[in-house]
């Protein structure tokens, strides 16, 4: 049967079992929207800004391991979406982004709402396509889904000119796809894995360092199993939180710029490091030269060969899909006669416990001012540690990562790589669509929340009972912290003046707003939000200590063991 391009798009999405599409209509995608209208298998979520559509689809994927799908129009629809696409790209999130384009004959003529979509998005997608013939449409969409999810995942964009959506051709959706130019490795090299195990068992001071790859590949169970078998300490990156239970004794918490003292010290001092789905980025290992000063052997498991030896020389690279490699590693541990030397391991743990006893996450709390850390701790208690927590970017993001102990993967949803303010609220929407019964909290700041605050309207339309915890200190806190520490207290443009009354604003959108000024009111307010207003969106505006800083801190360019632990050390 002959179908139009628009019908083909919808049929392809149905074939891929897509349930939700986040988007915003416009001229170039009108035929596609017309076909969406005629069916009810795929639900369309109308956002209020295209950036939010991509963030929502992104978090939908992060919280469920499905592929997020969004649909936007040409020109400004695409340029608005770019921040979202780049966010997903930096964190390797599988998305299929369908964009309208001006009709084929108009391309290159500066037509109304024309943009060089493929050109603009090329550096921030895993791959993109411009469909020039309706006969290529189904194959291209199949390829997009295949590319997004396999290998190192990422966003894939399909740009479809309007005339293509009107043209007809025979519809056939390919069952499988094979590309001679794209064959991602899955299984790790057995010999390399054997070498890795030998190094691990010979180690005196072993350390496991796990990143977002563990979450993305659903390898948390295997990582946990292996870590427990080995009895080694483990630390996680911002993107890896939840990949190993944070409340477990073997977990040293997060490492990096705002990592715990014990995690950073163990990372620096270990003699054998096993990196799993992590990429040694600048916020994680600090100054690479300082990091490289200590002679340690590094084993690196990653699906992307280009992540290996990019910033740090690796001794045993293992290219492969993390769960497959861990499976093999576990198998080899089970049959191996050799065991790690218990005496050396015990003395290493003793050293680590010494670092841990400094309690680097402690903070001072009075009765007048709400400490932001306290809000996160109370959220953790009230939600029993079982909420999906999204965040924006800045101090509140770090406090959320430090004080909410994630025991499960895919519960911590944040923009790690790109650091996109405005991510949190649309992300919370996406999480809720992927997990319709879940408790969803968005930890944000008064700066970040205003970057996509229009989505309060989307939340109303779709009855999303998200709880927004705004740690309101009247400053762009992380900027202020750096200005205090490195720019002589000159707070250039980091003060947020003329803030709206967030309670009234929430109410204006049809939600519940609460303002909390005193520490004693923090827990009751959170309870009120999660219990009394269970089925409503609640905006909790916490007036927090304006001077609170995030500690520990490794200043940019410094080494991991050169942490500033508290205010007194400034």
């Amino acid at each position: 049967m002959q179908l139009t391009g628009a019908e083909i798009v919808i049929r392809c999405l149905q074939e891929e079992k897509v349930e939700h599409v986040f988007g915003y209509p416009g001229g170039s995608v009108l035929f596609i929207y017309d076909e969406l209208f005629k069916q009810d298998q795929i639900k369309h979520i109308l956002v209020r800004h295209e950036q939010a559509a991509v963030h929502a689809a992104d978090a939908y994927s992060r919280s469920s391991n499905k592929i997020g799908v969004c649909l936007v129009t040409s020109g400004p629809g695409v340029t608005n979406a770019v921040t979202g696409i780049a966010t997903a790209h930096m964190d390797s999130i599988p998305l299929v982004v369908i964009t309208g384009q001006v009709p084929t004959a108009y391309i290159g003529q500066d037509a109304f709402q024309e943009a060089d979509t493929v050109g603009i998005t090329r550096p921030c997608v895993k791959h993109n396509f411009l469909v020039k013939d309706v006969k290529d449409l189904a194959d291209t969409i199949k390829k997009a889904f295949y590319l997004a999810k396999t290998g190192r995942p990422g966003p894939v964009l399909v740009d479809i000119p309007k005339d293509i959506t009107a043209k007809k051709c025979e519809f056939h959706y390919p069952k499988t796809i094979s590309m001679r130019s794209y064959n991602p490795v899955v299984k790790g090299h057995t010999g390399q894995i054997k070498k890795a195990l030998q190094l691990l068992l010979d180690a005196k001071r072993p350390m496991i360092y796990a990143g977002g790859g563990v979450i993305l590949s659903d390898a948390a169970d295997k990582l946990t199993k292996m870590t427990r078998m080995l009895g080694f300490p483990i630390t996680q990156t911002l993107m890896g939180l939840g990949g190993y239970p944070a409340t477990d004794r073997q977990s040293l918490g997060m490492l990096g710029m705002h990592g715990t003292y014990e995690a950073n010290m163990a990372m620096q001092e270990c003699d054998v490091l096993l990196a799993v789905g992590a990429r040694f980025d600048d916020r994680v290992i600090g100054n690479p030269d300082h990091f490289a000063k200590v002679a340690r052997k590094i084993i690196h498991i990653d699906i992307d060969p280009s992540s290996i030896s990019k910033r740090v020389r690796v001794d045993v690279p293992i290219v492969g899909n993390v769960p497959d490699v861990l499976d093999e590693l576990i198998k080899q541990i089970q049959v191996s006669e050799a065991k790690a030397e218990p005496k050396a391991l015990a003395s290493w743990w003793k050293q680590i416990e010494g670092w841990r006893s400094r309690n680097s996450l402690k903070y001072k709390m009075g009765s007048d001012l709400i400490m932001p850390q306290y809000v996160v701790e109370k959220l953790y208690e009230v939600t029993g540690g079982d909420a999906f927590v999204t965040s924006d970017v800045g101090q509140h993001q770090m406090w959320a990562a430090q004080y909410y102990k994630f025991d499960k993967p895919r519960r911590w949803i944040n923009s790690g790589g790109l650091g996109t303010m405005g991510f949190g609220l649309p992300a919370a929407m996406g999480v809720r669509f992927a997990n319709p019964k879940a408790t969803v909290a968005c930890i944000t700041g008064e700066g970040s929340i205003q970057m996509n605050i229009q989505e309060l309207s989307t939340c109303k339309q779709f009855h999303l009972p998200v709880k927004i915890l705004c740690l309101n200190n009247g400053y762009l806190g992380m900027v202020r912290q750096w200005q205090q520490m490195f720019h002589g207290n000159r707070y250039a443009e980091s003060y947020v003046d003329a803030l709206p009354d967030f309670v009234k604003l929430a109410e204006a959108y049809g939600h519940v707003g609460l303002r909390i000024d005193k520490p004693a009111d923090v827990e009751p307010a959170i309870r009120e939000a999660f219990v009394k207003h269970k089925n409503q969106l609640v905006f909790l505006d916490f007036q927090t200590d304006k001077t609170a800083n995030v500690f520990p801190m490794v200043a940019a360019g410094k080494g991991l063991s050169e942490m500033i632990l508290a205010e007194e050390e400034l």
């Binding site: 493929v118 791959h127 992307d304």
Partner: protein
């Protein structure tokens, strides 16, 4: 170190900009880049000359491999290979310079492929050094125009880059 990297890539619209975009986005250096379809018109072959440390070149080959359209990448300079470049030089050829130009072109095994009363166009193939040597050998003030293709290269013997 100077490296010659050969790439087989799907002959799709935008393939070239994916490669050149990768180099500019990651701050890699391109000395020259040549591209044309192969005997199989669905594939293009690119030759890129780049200068960088071993670490950088390793990253370049990995990043090139990561491009979805890339079928194969090889660093030709890792082993025996041949490289060639084509240069066309338009020179002033009048009076006694006319004879001299012909003589130098012959020495470099260049061919004069266009002749007017006052100019020659000399065609020269060889490696990059030879191009430089020719330009050094003639009187610079006589050069009206030069155009070079950039290097293309191929492995010696059994080293074959094919799907």
């Amino acid at each position: 170190m100077r490296h010659i990297i050969s790439i087989l890539i799907e002959n799709e619209a935008g393939a070239l900009s994916r490669v050149s975009g990768l180099f500019s986005a990651r701050g890699y250096n391109i000395e020259s880049l040549t591209v044309a379809p192969t005997e199989d018109p669905t594939l293009s072959r690119m030759t890129i000359v780049s200068i960088g440390s071993d670490d950088i070149i390793e990253q370049i080959t990995k990043q090139l491999n990561k491009l979805i359209d890339t079928v194969k990448v090889v660093d030709l300079s890792e082993a025996a290979h041949i490289e060639r470049e084509l240069m066309l030089v338009k020179v002033r050829a009048t009076g006694k310079d006319r004879e001299e130009m012909k003589r130098v072109a012959d020495i470099f095994r260049g061919r004069i492929i266009d002749v007017t009363e006052s100019t020659y166009v000399v065609e020269l193939t060889g490696n990059t050094n030879k191009m430089g040597a020719f330009l050094d050998a003639i009187d610079r003030s006589l050069i009206l125009e030069t155009v070079r293709t950039g290097v293309c290269g191929i492995g010696r013997g059994d080293r074959i880059l094919k799907v």
